[in-house]
Amino acid sequence: MASEGLHEAGELLDAATIDHHRAVTSLCEELEAVDWYDQRVKATDDPTLAAVLAHNRDEEKEHAAMTLEWLRRRDPVLDAHLRTYLFTTDPVTEIEAEAEAAGDDGPAATGSGSLNIGSLKGTE
């Protein structure tokens, strides 16, 4: 069983879709773990335990970032949105307005342009 979280019958899904689901599920789990660790850090009165939990929490952030990058490389629409919003300083809603003014529907309409071919190793 690839995951308990599939919403459609597994036999109806291709391998890429199931891998995408695995990554999304993993990303959710990592971010949930960040939240749980963060609450425990705030709740404990033992500063040594808080330090360990904070260390663990921050490692989960790294895991989340790695999984998000895996998803970005395979999803041109997600890639376009991340390029629009991440590492900016203007108010987020202003960025959305600028993006929509730049094109009919912003980056999602034109895509990233990549054909997302990537590795073909193992095919004939």
């Binding site: 529907d105 990233s112 342009g113 054909l115 071919i117 990537g118 590795s119 190793k121 193992g122 004939e124």
Partner: protein, 272 residues
Amino acid sequence: MDHLQRAHAPISEAGWSAIEDEIRPRLTTYLAARKLVDFEGPSGWSHSATALGRVETVAGPGPALEARRRRVLPLVELRAAFSVDRRQLEDVDRGAPDPDLGGLEEAGRRLALGENSAIFHGYGAGGIAGITESTSHPPMTLPADAGHYPTSVAGAVDVLRQAGIGGPYGLAIAPDLFTDIVERTEHGGYLLFDHLRQILGGPLVWAPGLSGGIVLSLRGGDFVIDCGQDISVGYLDHDADTVRLYLEESFSFRVLEPDAAVTLTAPGKPKK
């Protein structure tokens, strides 16, 4: 702003999809080298060079100062331009399933063959050393009669094994020689194609842009494409009749283990 400038093109979402859906399967047919070597990335358009982990000594900037400069392999940008008739794109918006997208296919073929050729045979101007010019083994000549290819391919596989290079192995083969193989039946009706696959333990790859053939290990870690931007469709300009677009990618290629490939040179024309 996106350097591909797609937001400025007079092309609807359906038009972009038609272009991408048309060229993607053709590229996956043509891109033979990617079927045999490792692919790292894409790391984005801003990725400019592959780190080699090497330095070269240079003169220091002052007395009693040692200096070393890091060596890198710059990525090459390949671009193939083409034009599309705007009427055809308008027909796509009307629901036409079979638009004539002009030079798109030929541009894809040019780009893919350029990538294949750079990886298989090298691209001096781009600083890429190809597999055939990097291999440490002397080349083997394919016989004029395709029926004898198994002997050559088995010999090449043996050379790799003797060098301690594990399999599975693959064969990249020029299109004319590939056709000779698939047409051929050996004694007993056994397909030559299947016989070669059994010897290799891996695929036979139709490889436009390659002269002759290459037997190489597919174990991984021996040949690496470092991709900056994977093949993408960008916009140049347009007038009332046509839109000019381009296919573009950036990549470098390294042979990390020269022992892991054997070149098979093309046979002379068989005498009839």
